[in-house]
Point group: C2
Chain length 302, copies 2
């Protein structure tokens, strides 16, 4: 399947999976952020991993959509005034700007259980034991040992590694913390997507380890690209407020390593992604395209 | 088992099930609210339903604790400044007052997936298909069709049914809305507790319907008692700010029916609870004790 077909399929399913029931406000608020235009990278990577490892895409659709719903959940709560306090996301107003803060808190809460319910409700072809394995992956990566751990360390590290002139304090420690927080904040959702895709395909332990390693590495590369783009892009290009990291003295790859070294790291990590694939004789045009895309947007020296 | 033994067992298990891992703040914040002293009514009702219907208490412990964790989750988020903005809960500072707003949002989020993970991790004796049934109950009652639906309607009804002198406007509609919101805000957690207890015990459909009906009815009675106590108690007796409902012009059973009629309704609903039990030949000293307790605290005319 081509990238566009994947995106179309996922958008159609996301729309189907969230119907506007009573009380409408909550379902509208959930659906608003879940269906914001986006690259659908995480669900695509779930479906493509499943296909690449010999599984049926069909069987992974509910799980792929659940991962995208979880992703939307993290965006809604991250954007709240008490967190990152962002007004725009993907070029549109953030959830709490449209529905109010209380509804945004509740919409995020609701998505956290709505997403796994989609898995149990629509995955007719999964055995109960595979379904429980998939749910456990979801619980693990969505929770206090997953994306939330990253968010907590992110909050706690604010102002800790930069002095008032935005100079790095304690670089070794900063490197460790930055890696930890992005393994969780960013890589965990990719790990969830790819690991569940692999489990649904019935992958063996070697393949499962390989996709885990790929997702971890890819997630770090993705975050470095994001930090580079935050530095060099405009609101129009990105659909969210840019340069905010720098302004707020936030620790990023660019503030830690500078723009050039960040680009090197990005290239290096993405090349490692190819190696991981090759070593396990896994190949996928879609993953190649995704990697190439990131390299072109953030890695080039134009 | 006696009430005290139940409480002891549940407190021990709650403490065991939440270990303080890295990053510590999030686990401390989760554990803080989960382990606040409380009556443990919901987990007790889960365990007692399981026992009453012939199941092993042991098999229901992880689920009972998951229900209590979900209950704590709803308290943490309901108390947030953007929701009810409460500073005290069970005589202690609310979660965001101790850990800050961002951590309280994240602790609530984390509990939503931590709770079902406890079910899958520690329910060794449940078959995969029973486990999935239990998880589906959890997803349903925790989500946008469960407690959250109640919270949404509660928020939307504020100021809608009371004029500036606290007189009821549109009483018929107000009655319907009040019942809907408490079926969800309050009864749903009791339904979750009792239905999962029954499912784990292997109850048939009749018994499952009966405990559902019991939980719905009991939940409404419980809420009426809460409204009565809000009207007549002090902070010292309840451990949270009292008389707040009235002050904020919030629709309650007492504002809708007055104190005396509310007490009548309470007695009537609790007597219906007994009938539901009798009709299915179910009997439990613990449930009798719980009902008696509520009657004595809120139903008497002393």
């Amino acid at each position: 399947m081509q990238m566009n077909n994947y995106i179309e399929l996922i958008n159609k399913k996301l729309d189907e999976f969230i119907k506007i029931e009573y009380p409408q406000e909550i379902f509208k608020s959930m659906k608003y952020t879940v269906t914001l235009p986006g690259k659908r990278l995480r669900p695509i990577m779930c479906l493509e991993t499943c296909k690449m490892l010999g599984g049926e895409i069909e069987n992974a659709i509910p799980t792929a959509c659940a991962v995208e719903m979880l992703h939307a959940q993290t965006l809604i709560h991250d954007d709240l005034p008490c967190m990152d306090n962002d007004d725009y996301r993907r070029g549109k107003l953030t959830n709490h700007k449209v529905f109010g803060e209380a509804m945004a808190v509740l919409a995020g809460d609701a998505l956290l259980t709505y997403a796994p319910q989609i898995i149990t409700k629509y995955s007719e072809n999964l055995s109960s034991s595979v379904m429980i394995r998939v749910l456990n992956e979801y619980f693990q990566f969505a929770g206090a040992r997953g994306v939330i751990a990253g968010q907590v360390v992110d909050i706690n590290s604010e102002g800790k590694f930069l002095d008032k002139d935005n100079k790095i304090i304690n670089k070794d420690e900063a490197e460790k913390v930055l890696e930890y927080l992005h393994i969780h904040k960013t890589s965990d959702l990719f790990q969830l997507a790819m690991r569940t895709g692999a489990i649904i395909a019935g992958a063996d332990d070697d393949k499962l380890s390989a996709v885990t390693e790929f997702a971890k590495t890819f997630g770090l590369a993705f975050q470095i690209a994001d930090d580079i783009l935050d530095e060099i892009s405009t609101f129009e290009q990105m659909g969210k407020t840019m340069g905010k990291d720098k302004e707020e003295g936030k620790l990023t790859y660019v503030s830690l390593y500078g723009l050039e070294e960040s680009k090197c790291k990005l290239t290096c990590l993405l090349s490692k992604c190819h190696d991981i694939m090759d070593k396990q004789n896994m190949s996928s045009d879609i993953f190649n395209e995704i990697i190439e895309n990131i390299l072109q947007r953030a890695g080039s020296n134009k």
